[in-house]
Symmetry: C2
Subunit: 338 residues, 2 copies
């Protein structure tokens, strides 16, 4: 079974991935802003005990036992949040399966954050699995829940459903046709957030944006993903229209795409930033049928294994920044040629 | 027999070509600044008559009978000067052989300009052939010659030997190590000119420079080329030292060279300017053994057939600027892949 981020998903020409996150807290323990070290350890203990009752073949990993590169590699794969790693790790843990599409973070901003990921656009199934996990957990532990407000969370913005649903989209067409800012504005007006790939406050890299719901209170889980689905469908349509427009000036587009491919296949050293920029062009070329030499699967490998920590995992060695740039060129050419 | 500019020459890693030019005038006709249209036509007539007496299989071509692209293609190959084409063509003609290494221009700044070209560094043989042609002509026509000053010419700077000897050198190493300006200065101090590839007042393109003698009076032909040879040998040595220095940081150099190769082999449109820049890197890579896929012969083809007029001759079609950029990419990839 391939890891989720290497699988092919639906609407994969525009939508890279789907993510569902449910924020939950235990009723009998103070929230993370107020609780003690022993409270945090108790949570990990509770989950250690209930793992065998869950059918997902989850492994409990304490962050303090993981090396830095392994932790960073999970951030690069969008499986855990950057803050979860950079803050002190003493009390943090994750429950994760082999496919890496299920990851429950313990002692993040909330006691429990259930996360389910999928390749491409797959909001219904992803929510379905998250809800299933949530219900199984609810049979084993007591959630902090209020009849009027719903699930209680550390941050008021998550109160209610505790649901954050998001999709990661690749929008090179809208960028190249200078329509991207108009689209960002419309998405905001529809009550959605749109931002860089590592969440709030980060910039877009390689024309990749994350769209997610703002509201989690006074609205059902189904409505939340219905709204997100509607806006995502609209963006897919606009992005495809932009690509059709670009295809009219075929030579310009082919030139951009093929030069990017030529640089990736010939360079002897390359930064992660440049790879993101060039891969955006190459992915556009593959999705539009301009580049036939490489598959969508290879694009996914390139996206994953050119990031610093994943590259070091892939190569099985620790490398400094300069050597990484050289090895990155080798990794790219190895993946393309194999 | 290959045209001279496609042949392999000596010291070809640094020296692209050698050129000898002898300026001569007929004794019985006024200089070009003063003469009449019928004088000019008389000169062409004289040469038409003496061609059969010369052993070089020269053809007489009148510029007014040549199409613009053919004339421009000769300029691009450095066989005739840009001014010779852009000024009015009514009275201008050339005598040229199949190999294109001999070209006698009629009614340029002087009545007669004997030119001999060779690939690589070959001053002695090139001068030898020019002198041989000159002597054969001297048996058939009367030169304007003064016992005290030597050959008389339109411009005082050419009086004496009438000789301009020059070599075209490729100096990417000295450029990349930022030593080029120091070298330009030294060459000037040694009584030589160093300038862009299309002669006086033009800028360097693709790190190519033309070095030539300033003095033509009070010095023998042999001394002129001995001095030019000495300074060229010094430049070759300095350029090779610079390349050795660059080779110490192999990855940086390989990256520059291979990226240039990647762009040339993948682009779908490209300007002549960009090709010159990239070809300089690729030629350096070929000369330093970094790129083994292509030969020196292909580099020479690429240098020649990517220039606007030669490209149109190569393709056998007339193209406007935008189409040229597209066809240029095709020509490059055809030459590399064949």
């Amino acid at each position: 079974m391939l890891n989720w981020y290497l699988q092919s998903g639906k609407e994969a020409d525009v939508v890279i991935s789907t993510r569902i996150r449910l924020a939950r807290n235990l009723d009998e323990i103070l929230f993370t802003t107020k609780y003690s070290l022993s409270d945090a350890e108790k949570i990990i203990q509770i989950f250690g005990n209930i793992i065998p009752s869950l059918p997902y073949e989850l492994k409990l990993l304490k962050l303090k036992d993981m090396d830095y590169i392994t932790k960073l590699s999970l951030v690069e794969k969008h499986i855990i949040s950057p803050n979860f790693v950079t803050e002190e790790n003493e009390t943090k843990a994750i429950l994760i399966n082999e496919e890496e599409n299920i990851c429950i973070m313990l002692n993040e901003e909330d006691h429990i954050r259930i996360q389910v990921l999928a390749s491409g656009l797959d909001l219904e199934n992803t929510l379905g699995l998250a809800v299933e996990i949530d219900e199984k957990l609810a049979n084993l532990i007591n959630y902090a829940y209020n009849e009027k407000y719903g699930f209680l969370t550390s941050c008021p913005t998550n109160v209610g459903t505790g649901l954050r649903s998001s999709v990661m989209v690749h929008l090179p067409g809208l960028t190249l046709t200078s329509n991207i800012n108009k689209v960002l504005e419309v998405v905001n007006n529809f009550g959605m957030n749109i931002r860089g790939v590592y969440g709030e406050g980060t910039k877009s890299q390689g024309n990749i944006y994350q769209i997610s719901n703002k509201q989690s209170l006074g609205i059902s889980e189904e409505e939340i993903i219905k709204n997100l689905k509607a806006i995502t469908d609209k963006i897919i349509e606009q992005e495809r229209l932009a690509r059709k427009y670009l295809a009219k000036n075929a030579i310009e587009l082919e030139d951009t795409v093929c030069r990017a491919y030529g640089t990736l296949t010939n360079c002897k050293k390359i930064s992660g930033e440049e790879v993101k920029r060039l891969l955006s062009d190459v992915k556009l070329g593959v999705d539009m049928g301009i580049i036939k030499e490489i598959t969508d699967y290879k694009i996914k490998q390139l996206e994953t294994f050119t990031k610093p920590a994943n590259m070091q995992k892939y190569l099985g060695t620790v490398l400094d920044g300069y050597d990484r740039d050289i090895k990155r060129a080798e990794v790219i050419q190895k993946i393309i040629n194999e």
